[in-house]
Amino acid sequence: MADIDQHAARPLTAAWAKRAQGWLLPLAVLLIWETVVAQQWVSAHLLPPPSELAHTLLELTRSGALLAHIGVSVARVLAGFAIGAALAVALGAAVGLSPRVEALIDPSFQALRAIPSLAWVPLLLLWLGIDEAPKLTLIAIGAFFPVYLNLVAGIHNVDRKWVEVGRVHGLRTGALIGRVFLPAALPHVLTGLRGGLSLAWMFLVAAELMAATRGLGYLLTDGRETGRADLVLVAIGVLAVLGALSDSLLRLLETRWLAWRDVALTQEAQP
């Protein structure tokens, strides 16, 4: 009996041991960080110790300020991402499915893609002012290209053999798109959506750094201007957590929708 229990327990402990190993480095860094600042080898003004960051985080949470900033930022990301991704799906489908539309539109998009997206910032400010509009536009631009490029590639890679199956069963253009092309391109679309979402977060920060009175990017600027490194570090940490959370949400969708895929690794390795 004891023998069996041991066998059953071993893989579990091994998994825990592996997971615990991953925590070793960050914990060590936090410990050293705290010590270095406590010993005043580094100025607490420039590098606030973890304990102070925890305190700041608690304060911000208690006052409700952090939640308000998060709410504003998340709303911007969602709106900008939705606009950019929706446009990308519409245009990507048209370009992928129709050689004529592709010849007409795709070269221009390839050219636009060559522009580093942050170069749009001054122009957007000039055209759209400093309201929500330029921020959402910038985030939408960021989200657009990964989705667009992946969808076009996905449609171009659809196996001709599946298309023939559709035609043998009498599918016309519309039904062929809905029942063969789009499902076949779905894995690419989801890859594109994940890429687009991570860029949306990046562009959110850029947008809020330039002109904002609320949001996590504003918290970054505010921390810098008032000389409070703790605010900056807390904002960075929160951004990291939000980015990871939203990505794992999409990954959840991916495992749901793509259960049919025949891939070697059904679950991604946990970092």
Partner: protein
């Protein structure tokens, strides 16, 4: 006797400037099982594509039950060389693909899956099937609309010998249960003799019918039957094409280049 199930008179079929089929005529009666046998490059797959309505670029006439051939004729079911199941649909939805979304719920799907010996597999995804099982599903899909004629293009060439023998019996049983005639392209002489009532032998460059071998006793047949061996010998004699000059390499894909990159014109 009424009009034959299939009546085909092809004058010529060319790819680029190469003549692929030259004066090929064949007819099929209801209930028959006929095989097309020939070396690669003889145009047998092309012939099948013409009957399936996937290729219209030829000179000649083709009729099924007196109607000119078109793509997606309700009289014709197609089984490709590979199973070609759509991986994002369950097995049942693949069989009922003709009906659209939720096609897998049609009672005919369960009936067909039972016919091919996969009654319990309706909810599985294609990735869970072996090659032989996937081809069974493809046969069921081909028979879903109760076609008068089932076309198969080297359907068992990718499976091992034992699986192939089982699949051959599955095909015969399922087709006769659905009252479908069968036109099968193969390069397995043994398979052709075992399955068919008639075997048509094609030569190549250009593809022409060299002769016909009748295998005229009813199923079930014994695989070791001496008459089968005689039929095979006859087929092999017809296939022997030593008089042919060396051939240019056959096309990499047996399917025409015009379809190689099928995109939609929106």
């Amino acid at each position: 006797m009424s009009a034959p199930l299939l009546q085909l008179d092809i004058q010529a079929k060319q790819f680029a400037r190469r003549l692929v089929l030259d004066r090929v005529s064949l007819s099929l009666a209801a209930g028959e099982v006929v095989s097309l046998v020939g070396p690669s490059g003889c145009g047998k797959s092309t012939l099948l594509r013409i009957i399936a309505g996937l290729d219209r670029d030829y000179q000649g006439q083709a009729q099924i039950l007196g109607e000119p051939i078109r793509l997606h004729s309700r009289h014709v079911g197609v089984v490709f060389q590979e199973p070609r199941l759509l991986p994002w649909l369950s097995v049942a939805d693949n069989v009922g693909f003709e009906l659209g979304r939720r096609g897998g719920r049609h009672p005919r799907v369960a009936e067909l899956l039972a016919d091919v010996g996969l009654a319990d597999w309706g909810h599985a995804y294609p990735k869970q099937l072996s090659g032989g099982m996937a081809q069974r599903v493809a046969i069921a899909r081909g028979l879903f609309t109760r076609p008068a004629l089932l076309l198969l293009d080297e359907p068992f060439s990718a499976v091992d010998a034992f699986t192939r023998m089982r699949l051959q019996d599955v095909l015969l049983a399922a087709a006769s249960h659905s009252q479908a005639s069968v036109l099968l392209v193969t390069h397995d002489v043994n398979e052709a003799a075992y399955l068919s009532d008639r075997v048509l032998v094609l030569g190549r460059n250009p593809g022409r019918i060299r002769g016909e071998v009748r295998v005229d006793w009813p199923h079930p047949r014994q695989r070791g039957d001496a008459r089968l061996a005689r039929a095979e010998a006859e087929i092999l004699a017809l296939l022997d094409d030593r008089e042919d000059a060396p051939q240019p390499p056959p096309q990499a894909a047996p399917w025409p280049a015009s379809l190689a990159r099928l995109r939609l014109a929106v």
